[in-house]
């Protein structure tokens, strides 16, 4: 029989006294954890609240999910419930865990690989047609996620989507171009974006999926490291004519407004975005370049194709743990002059985004170079610079975790590359820059 215990006994004490057996009684309400909305787009805020908890009690809120590769990622934060027995992540302050202070989305951008995971992981959604399924739990006391089983008070499941309902995903293999087109629902025609990524290669779809969820046709393009591209996967075997063809595929699509196309690129993709925009052959309405150089240290032929990557070995700098930084590759002094874009030829608004803790590219130096060139050309009014202290190289859509470093290659042995960025400032940079990117696109593509 359960002995009679005073109503005001602290919940944590109670469970310890009972040896972990739950005390079922009408005197003890069940705690309730809610998330609103439970199904959200990646860039939407989710409001998490716990209710019917004892007042002024330590609790932990914890998030766990599996990546597309099956790795477990988790985040947690320590709170104290207030006098009415509630915890509210949009109002309350974390006093420990993956983040501190009032961070409504901290459990999402603060995700890290669970202890015991493989090294150098980076969270990237490969299949954008399914959501991230996240288990959010409310735990008793200030504990870590590994203690979830024995301390769980309540839990809910949330889904986070890159694709809104009705968005269409279309694989493009046309005119030698390899990519994926995302179209918003409806007849269109839609303003559009060409979406470019870095030298990690492959076909990265998630940012395009989000743009389509926000009303833009968006074409994710690959130029390196994809089986459907010509030549060895370790070289860039496509040149200016490839990107021009890709732009035309977008422009000629009956559901795209031919004269409302922008280009966005991260890292080497930022270089490509500037190169495409300044080559006169196409006329984008705006360009967004993130953490990328104005030129390349890779020898390229006249058409922009790379011969090999040997030439950049000399610019690879290793730290004392053997991790490589590519940063000096993009220093203006090290750029091969013939590859340098003629930035003064740009004819549309340009937004350049810098992470000041970028360990992979010399973003600040390139930003300054672009700013100078445009000033000299009398085109300062086209230039917008966003610069974020503490943010790293991988400035991506918001509420997703940053990796300070990740696995770059594993032959002949594992090599990790540095990206930089500290969790909280990088998260703030992603959140702020995403809003500004969408506003910039709205200004120049929809008005």
């Amino acid at each position: 029989m359960v002995p009679c215990i005073g109503v005001h006994r602290n919940l944590a004490c109670l469970v310890r006294a009972m040896g972990g057996v739950r005390w079922k009684s009408s005197l003890r309400p069940a705690p309730l954890l809610t998330a609103t909305p439970v199904r959200a787009l990646i860039d939407e805020q989710i409001s998490i609240k716990g209710r019917f908890l004892p007042p002024q009690c330590p609790v932990t809120v914890c998030a766990q999910m599996h990546s597309d590769d099956g790795d477990l990622w988790e985040a947690f934060a320590h709170y104290n419930t207030n006098a009415d027995g509630t915890v509210n992540l949009t109002r309350d302050h974390s006093v420990g865990g993956s983040y501190f202070g009032c961070e409504p989305m901290g459990l999402f951008w603060g995700l890290q690989p669970a202890p015991g995971s493989r090294e150098g992981l980076r969270l990237r959604k490969k299949n954008v047609e399914t959501p991230y399924v996240m288990l959010m739990s409310l735990l008793e006391g200030h504990v870590s996620p590994s203690e979830r089983q024995s301390t769980e008070l309540a839990a809910i499941t949330t889904e986070r989507w890159y694709m809104a309902p009705g968005v269409r995903r279309i694989e493009i293999r046309q005119d030698g171009v390899v990519g994926t087109l995302f179209l918003p629902p409806g007849p269109g025609p839609f303003p559009a974006m060409l979406d470019l990524w870095g030298m990690g290669g492959g076909l990265v779809e998630y940012r395009s999926a989000l743009f389509a969820s926000r009303g833009y046709a968006s074409f994710s393009l690959t130029y390196l490291g994809h089986k459907d591209l010509p030549g060895p996967q370790t070289c860039i075997n496509v040149g200016d004519s490839y990107f021009k063809s890709a732009y035309h595929i977008l422009q000629d699509h009956r559901q795209v407004c031919a004269d409302r196309i922008g280009i966005i690129g991260l890292s080497f993709g930022a270089y490509l975005s500037l190169r495409i925009a300044t080559q006169a052959a196409v006329k984008p309405s705006c360009v967004i370049s993130i953490n990328g150089p104005v030129g390349s240290t890779i020898k390229v032929d006249a058409d922009g194709r790379s011969k090999s990557f040997e030439s950049y070995q000399k610019h690879m700098v290793y730290d004392d743990q053997g991790h490589v930084s590519f940063k000096s590759m993009s220093l203006p002094a090290n750029i091969i002059p013939e590859t340098k874009v003629k930035i003064e030829h740009i004819a549309c608004p340009l937004m350049y985004i810098v992470g000041e803790d970028d360990k992979s590219a010399s973003s600040m130096e390139n930003a300054n170079l672009i700013e100078e060139s445009l000033r000299d050309a009398g085109k300062s009014q086209l230039f917008t610079l966003l610069s974020y202290p503490g943010a790293g190289h991988l400035i991506e859509p918001p509420y997703t975790p940053n990796s300070r470093l990740s696995l770059w290659s594993f032959k002949p042995k594992k090599l990790f590359t540095l990206w930089g960025g500290h969790p909280a400032p990088h998260a703030a940079a992603q959140e702020d820059s995403w809003k500004k990117i969408l506003d910039f696109m709205e200004s120049h593509l929809t008005r």
């Binding site: 009684s25 499941t157 809104a164 009303g215 409302r260």
Partner: protein, 432 residues
């Protein structure tokens, strides 16, 4: 640059639970232009349902349903959710349709489009300016659905995610029969273990041998579930299910619901009778059934006048738990408001009036369901006696009925949370 950026319609959030609101907005319209916002849904029965509102864009070319007025269509005024609750079958549809989601594991898909001008008809023959798709869910992710076939009880149990234990609900529908899961799925999404109960198939009430211990057994399946707090289980009934709820609350010595919600219920019931017996008594009054100008059947007089003879009524004075009664004053199927008045009298006489909360809505009908679902003034019903399909008049006018659905659902959830989640003890309540 061309000046013809096409309009964009947005629905935020694009994926929501059916009782959550959304914000519908259109941008990039020419300023001051008349447009029509239109919703379209293809039901599981393959019928098309639609709603529409006539708007005028502002100087920036924007329309926002949260702020702007509709001047025509299936709803008027400032109605953020009008495109859902005012839906009706498209012209040319079969008569007497009712929109009910049977598969709760998939969402209701609603297409929201904007058309140029103030359009009244022929939406599918013209191209919209823009459209968006929104998902409306009865189930949160992580809610578990389990079929129950235990101790003779048939139903579906919905469990919230998490370790529990949770408060529970027995969810009892009306005389239409069958197994309706959507309210239980939604209640589980709000943190209640909820058992949607089937107690006879459609059209089988007359022959169904239902004794009340069927419901007591069902109640105990919930209260004895390892993830349910045994003394925090309530009962939720609609229509015939409310009679069952009143009966259990008053007469059962086996179960003790913590609280009850009765929508559109009555207490006129021969004491000690089975449901079959109740039905026989009801049907003996068919001479009192009326029809309206459309030949739709009005059943409310079959229960009137409310008898003074206590043996013809449930002994509601014996109820010992908080009761929330939700009724529509335009209920044409049962005289629920008159019965609620009589119930209050009986409970007052027994000193139990503090347990009763009565909510009545002017111009709401019988079928008070979760919010934003369309209103049905009259729908097909399988008549037990002849197995023929008649059309029953439920009552209610669309706008006030929809307001009643939205308002009552908030009040129901607050009531359930108060009695099943919070730690406060029972307090005397004033009648609303």
């Amino acid at each position: 640059m061309s000046h013809t950026v096409p309009p964009v319609v947005s629905v935020v959030p694009s994926r929501a639970l059916v009782d959550e609101t959304f914000k519908v907005a259109v941008q990039n319209l020419p300023p001051g232009s008349p447009v029509t916002l239109h919703s379209l849904h293809l039901s599981e029965d393959k019928d098309f349902w639609e709603a529409f509102g006539h708007y005028i864009s502002d100087h920036r070319g924007t329309v926002s349903l949260a702020e702007d007025f509709s001047f025509g269509g299936t709803y008027t005024g400032k109605e953020a959710m009008g495109l859902l609750w005012s839906m009706r079958p498209v012209p040319g549809s079969r008569e007497g349709l009712r929109l009910r989601k049977m598969n709760v594991c998939s969402p209701l898909l609603v297409n929201i489009s904007v058309y140029s001008g103030h359009v009244e008809e022929g939406f599918r023959e013209q191209a919209p300016l823009a459209s968006a798709l929104t998902e409306r869910w009865y189930m949160s992710p992580g809610v578990r659905r389990m079929e129950v076939r235990e101790k003779g009880v048939r139903g579906t149990l919905f469990l919230p995610p998490g370790p529990g234990p949770f408060p529970g609900l027995l969810d009892i529908w009306g005389g239409g029969g069958g197994l309706l899961e959507y309210r239980s799925a939604l209640l589980a999404s709000h943190g209640y273990v909820s058992l949607a109960l089937e107690y006879f198939s459609a059209g089988e009430l007359k022959s169904a041998e239902i004794e009340f211990n069927y419901f007591e057994t069902a109640f105990n399946i919930v209260s004895e579930h390892p993830q349910v707090i045994p003394d925090r289980v309530g009962i939720f009934g609609l229509s015939l299910g409310s009679i069952v709820t009143n009966y259990l609350a008053a007469e059962s010595s086996v179960i003790k619901p913590r609280c009850c919600v009765c929508i559109s219920g009555i207490h006129v019931y021969p004491r000690g009778a089975t449901l079959k017996g109740f039905y026989r008594a009801l049907v003996s009054n068919t001479h009192k059934m009326r029809v309206d100008e459309n030949n739709h059947e009005i059943w409310r007089d079959m229960v009137l006048p409310i008898p003074d003879d206590l043996s013809q009524k449930l002994d509601v004075g014996k109820i010992n738990c908080p009761m929330l009664l939700v009724n529509g004053r335009d209920d044409q199927n049962w005289p629920t408001v008159e019965c609620a008045e009589d119930m209050a009298k009986m409970m007052r006489a027994a000193g139990k009036e503090h347990l009763l909360t009565r909510i009545e809505y002017l111009d709401a009908g019988h079928l008070i369901e979760p919010p934003y679902s369309p209103h049905f003034r009259a729908t097909k019903f399988i008549k037990d006696s002849t197995k023929e399909k008649a059309i029953l008049l439920w009552g209610g006018q669309t706008k006030p009925h929809s307001d009643a659905q939205e308002d009552s659902w908030n009040k129901i959830l607050a009531f359930l949370q108060q009695h099943l989640y919070s730690s406060q003890t029972l307090k005397a309540k004033a009648k609303m």
